[in-house]
Symmetry: C2
């Protein structure tokens, strides 16, 4: 019954990752496939971004990383983020605050809209609404046919006042 327990248990996160890695799947393998190396800073940075549900800036990530790895520099953060974006693991957003923000997309609805509060600056995911099925697909079709434009990525951003700011704070 001991062996039975062992055989029947679900693969842990770590085991799943190692399996993916051997099979050439998963983010680590994706990095390697590009001829790049798997390093401590890269692991740490990916972990921070992929475990966060927020939209983090390079500085945000740096400060988080710095707690555990005081040796990792901000330059490495920037370099790694660029790599992860190129690999397609992260999306880079420029909401007009003066700094870019990064987000890990796996697990979320493919293309989700964003709500930016003009008062408090909060960035909110709009993951409950499938914008494609809600009408964006029609616009996309029209755009690509009317302009012969090969759409690779869509960005839909709403600027306005978030719930709290409408109620409470004036300005």
């Amino acid at each position: 019954m001991f062996s039975k327990l062992n055989r029947s248990h679900r693969a842990s996160s770590v085991e799943r990752h190692m399996n993916d890695f051997r099979r050439g799947k998963g983010w680590g393998a994706q990095i390697k496939r590009m001829g790049r190396r798997m390093t401590v800073p890269r692991r740490a940075i990916f972990k921070v971004v992929s475990n966060s549900s927020k939209h983090l800036s390079a500085e945000d990530i740096y400060m988080e990383i710095h707690k555990k790895y005081p040796g990792i520099g901000l330059t490495t953060i920037y370099r790694t983020l660029k790599l992860l974006v190129k690999t397609g693991l992260l999306i880079k957003h420029e909401f007009g605050e003066g700094c870019a923000r990064y987000e890990y997309t796996a697990g979320k609805i493919k293309e989700h809209a964003h709500l930016i509060c003009m008062s408090c600056g909060k960035v909110q995911d709009c993951s409950d609404i499938d914008i494609e099925k809600f009408g964006l697909d029609k616009i996309s079709k029209e755009v690509s046919s009317r302009y012969s434009f090969n759409i690779k990525r869509k960005r839909l951003v709403f600027h306005g006042l978030c719930e709290e700011c409408v109620k409470g704070g004036k300005k």
Copy 2:
């Protein structure tokens, strides 16, 4: 018959502007209403942006202005653009190129989408398509009700390959 000609002629652009100005309409009056002054640099800058159909950067505007007014500095361009955006006369776009671009919106469809070519960098207006009527209105409704978000502005941007880049240039 001379006087008749005079009386019946259509108001010229300049006359229309002066009338608007006296009545407190038009962009000049809007500036004044904010307690700001009408100056040579401001007139020149507004003229350049409002007469262009492109999305101009501060640098673009500066270079254009510089031909006629070599004395006007880049700082004034930035300051004036900020003022014109605050007044609502211009829209500021940040497409992720590292510099902001400005656009005069009057006369165009209220909220139009933008196409950014990932290969040549071209920014294209998508003014032929009324994105609201094409489905954005539905998404907006859903967003503002589901998230209690008071939408003030919408941005829809498509990144991909423009017609020329799909045909011709590989990368």
